[in-house]
Symmetry: D2
Subunit: 344 residues, 4 copies
Amino acid sequence: MIKAGIIGATGYAGAELVRILTAHPKAEIAAISSVSFEGKAISEVYPAFYKLNDMVCGDADAVVEKSDVVFAALPHGLSQELAQKCFDKGRIFIDLGADFRLESEAEYKEWYGGEYLNKELHDGSVYGLPELFRDRIKGKKIIANPGCYTTGVPLALAPAVAKGLVDTTGIIADCKSGVTGAGRGLSQNTHYPDLNEGFHPYKVASHRHTPEIEQTLSHLAGEKVRITFVPHLLPVNRGILSTCYARLKDGSTKEMIRAAYEEFYRNEYFVRLLPDGAAADIHNIKYSNFCDVSLHMDERTGTLVAVSAIDNMVKGAAGQAVQNMNILFDLDEKTGLDFMPPAF
Amino acid sequence: MIKAGIIGATGYAGAELVRILTAHPKAEIAAISSVSFEGKAISEVYPAFYKLNDMVCGDADAVVEKSDVVFAALPHGLSQELAQKCFDKGRIFIDLGADFRLESEAEYKEWYGGEYLNKELHDGSVYGLPELFRDRIKGKKIIANPGCYTTGVPLALAPAVAKGLVDTTGIIADCKSGVTGAGRGLSQNTHYPDLNEGFHPYKVASHRHTPEIEQTLSHLAGEKVRITFVPHLLPVNRGILSTCYARLKDGSTKEMIRAAYEEFYRNEYFVRLLPDGAAADIHNIKYSNFCDVSLHMDERTGTLVAVSAIDNMVKGAAGQAVQNMNILFDLDEKTGLDFMPPAF
Amino acid sequence: MIKAGIIGATGYAGAELVRILTAHPKAEIAAISSVSFEGKAISEVYPAFYKLNDMVCGDADAVVEKSDVVFAALPHGLSQELAQKCFDKGRIFIDLGADFRLESEAEYKEWYGGEYLNKELHDGSVYGLPELFRDRIKGKKIIANPGCYTTGVPLALAPAVAKGLVDTTGIIADCKSGVTGAGRGLSQNTHYPDLNEGFHPYKVASHRHTPEIEQTLSHLAGEKVRITFVPHLLPVNRGILSTCYARLKDGSTKEMIRAAYEEFYRNEYFVRLLPDGAAADIHNIKYSNFCDVSLHMDERTGTLVAVSAIDNMVKGAAGQAVQNMNILFDLDEKTGLDFMPPAF
Amino acid sequence: MIKAGIIGATGYAGAELVRILTAHPKAEIAAISSVSFEGKAISEVYPAFYKLNDMVCGDADAVVEKSDVVFAALPHGLSQELAQKCFDKGRIFIDLGADFRLESEAEYKEWYGGEYLNKELHDGSVYGLPELFRDRIKGKKIIANPGCYTTGVPLALAPAVAKGLVDTTGIIADCKSGVTGAGRGLSQNTHYPDLNEGFHPYKVASHRHTPEIEQTLSHLAGEKVRITFVPHLLPVNRGILSTCYARLKDGSTKEMIRAAYEEFYRNEYFVRLLPDGAAADIHNIKYSNFCDVSLHMDERTGTLVAVSAIDNMVKGAAGQAVQNMNILFDLDEKTGLDFMPPAF
């Protein structure tokens, strides 16, 4: 059994890791930690886990000590030192924060305000979006697990961009996220009466996931891509729907687009390319690691509308982190992740 | 007192007309009709109205007979004959359906499949979006009251398009509507468990409101405008948020955009241009006739993101219809419509 | 025009007072105050009010100075000193907190832990539930405005208890409240993802509204009444549904119960006794000052099930406070409160 | 592998059986049927299952033919003939409808209006609530799987009633159910805008689950028990919370109650007796087979308030049906049912 540790277990991503790893057939949770709830059982914080996982939160060092693989679900900026510790002790480090996601230190400074403590560590890390970069992940010791929007948008657009079927300028990603994406911390805009029956965009064209999405699309395109990214807050618990707009290049047809997606995702268990006429819906992927993708063509304006739906806490966080662990430990990628989404 | 009649009073738009007109200080409801509930009190269909309006639904002819102004909230295709009757009897006809909205009969055929029964009637009608076409409304006898998306999108973009500050190609309107927009009729996708905790686009780039929005924007631009329009269904009762994307023309600046909007909407009571930094939210306009507009600039890609929020049943239907009535009867435009949105 | 002041205007009850009083035809808001937002406009806190009420929050003393009637929407325990100040200056004081609600100082100590600062002030105050105690309200200077549950439960049971048709022992009030009842302050159990798709009881048989409900029912019964009161938190913004159970006394019949309610509420505009077969629903009274009451008989067990629905922020707080103001200033009781509930 | 068949697979209970059985390690779905969707894939009806279970709906006879155990999720009244067929062919029949639940044919006639086609079949069937009647289930061929309310209410009250700690008269069950309990069929009261932000009781003291709950409690009490049962419709997808009230008998104490529950449920994996101070919440058992029970004492009135929370589609329907299958096939009772509820 793989010994897995979770640092920051009482945040939402941490709790979702607890849910998934408690049931994983090839891993066991060796230790969990939480700064806010040290000494308390995870099931006191989340009574849903009562009697199923009553582990007590300890400190981060104990987690590093006891684990083969350490998952860190921490606020941005707190992962670099931990990564160093894990690296020094030979632990695999899977970071659900942003510290290792951007390849350019300049962009990291611009968007997050921090610095790279150890450049070598960053060079040895990898961006863990398996469907796009699986080959680079194997054998790595530090995994930058993508954020939620940064999984949904690239998976919606990847085949079209990689095959050069759409313009790489003018791409728009209009995204709508469930509230768990904002975390467990209290804030006025996630106070029930403020959000319920409401809907609004936030951080318009200034969200920190922008450079991360652009980095991925640029790799696929082989050139620098800039996008307009506007997230909105949905009054639902889980799910991100990304409605992405890209202009077709001259000569690109509906059929070419569809063929490109079918080939690109043929062997991807977790990406479900929907049949023509269907539309991706967060309703259909809740609590699962699937990414549903639907394709729509606006022939009047020559625009591809590619829509993806993921569960932001699973494929957009904890599920993808476990998928990365499975790759690193040579397990079938869907081990412990093959739960069906409920129908309602 | 103006005698107002409502045909199709038991649908959602009809019921909202009942709510507004029952309290209108210068109008009284003379008669209401409903095919499905003839002989029943409106308050049997909507118990919220119990003891406040217990009028019994009669037939359409009686409504025409007793009213100075007839509101029709009917499925598309049923209004033309009614309009003729009203016209012949000298009644003002305010149509909440689509029959008189498109100026081009060809477009009407293409998108709705019907024909113009009496071309003269269409020529004498007017598109009732007061903030954009107020001067043309006065004195008319047939008013085509705009649909919900077709109010929200143009109000978000009008100043930028009218002043020529943005490209008129490549405009994208990504819209999200509350469920009442789908009406009172039952359907699987408005069945509670199917919609709740769900979110998806529908009629992608093929919704009937497309040509109507284009018609309005083309009038403002002075040239034919085509847009990509994608509606989504939100799990909330009321409200439409329209996130609109347009590329800035060379030379257009953030300041020019803001100045254009301020001038354009300076005297418009029902359009609230939000201060810089704020974002439109359907939470803030519910149950009111206001349209909130917020402006955001993506300077990295030269894109204007203009966002509007309306209550689809008020400014997007019944409220705007009463606003048109007020204009036609020389009342202050906000008579009976000056209710504050609740804070939560 | 009555000059009305609001202390604690940025809490939910305060904001609802702002909404109602801004539109009141016989009153104007003279001043508002807020400790947390002093110096800020109310519309910065609640953007729904933007351009409709942009008054700036000052301090409480200024409110007392400028007003004929002072509404206080403060946490419990902060009203007594304010009441004294208002009394000394000849202002009418309408308290939406609990400080003046209990007639017994012993009960106040037991449930709230505080003391009566000035016993005379308490003796001169009145419990402002107009439908039950209208005659006592006129002429008073200090009004204890009832809490939300303490309006809904007594209005469901009053006629049966007052006429002696049910046992006064064994009464059960199973209540379900929308989230605004918990106020604007942040807490984990009103964090959106924690409450959404959840439902649970809280403060079971230990909620502070218990003695207040018992006090009212005891007045009606002419003897000491004790009840079992269990509140639950509903994932909706507004509304309280109270399902109340009382055993029929020997000889009481369904018809006698119905007749008692009809007589009791015959002249009450704000209480709508629903016809047989209908069930009260919070859907039908939202944003209004109405209390809907439905009656159901379990003939198998001889139990009356009386159900009431109110909007906790209107009839359960701000609306009732304005109703009390209307009584005190000899206005028609429904002045500024006769808004129809929306149908959806 | 057990060959399991599902008749009525496209209703909500049927679809939940598909979700659970597709992942069951010791069973496989042999065939499914649906009258409304014969010839269609289950994943066309529920796109959440796309690529995970794309079985095509056939007819009921084929299901009986191919299966060792047949689950029927049909409207009431349609199961008796099927049960006979299964019995004749030696199939085990697990009925999620009501046809075999009531032991008294007279009660069946009174509440459902039907008759017993074959009395012997009824005598050979068993009521499948494992925590209360496990011993009787083994070896049976026809299982009457309890309804949702009829699982939640007895599990909340069983230990107190069985040990004689509470009066068996005057018991009240105030229940609140998520919308999936009303099924997939369309109706006005499950139309999204009618239910959302609403809450109301229905079938007050006249719901068909009443005699079934009474039958179970009577078995436990050893005497005829009558209850007052009032269900309400909650605006959430899943979950039933049952708040049950019973008067303590003289001499019963809080400690005795707690001890009785601890002993009664000591070995029950699926019943989680919560610690003192906690309250059952549907939030914590969603998508799982658990029943959470919390105990509260109103010492002022001598009333036990026992609260249970179940997922109406799992422990209240499909999960319990599979639990019964596990018992019948000598599997560990939690096989294929040990999924953790998500924390949010």
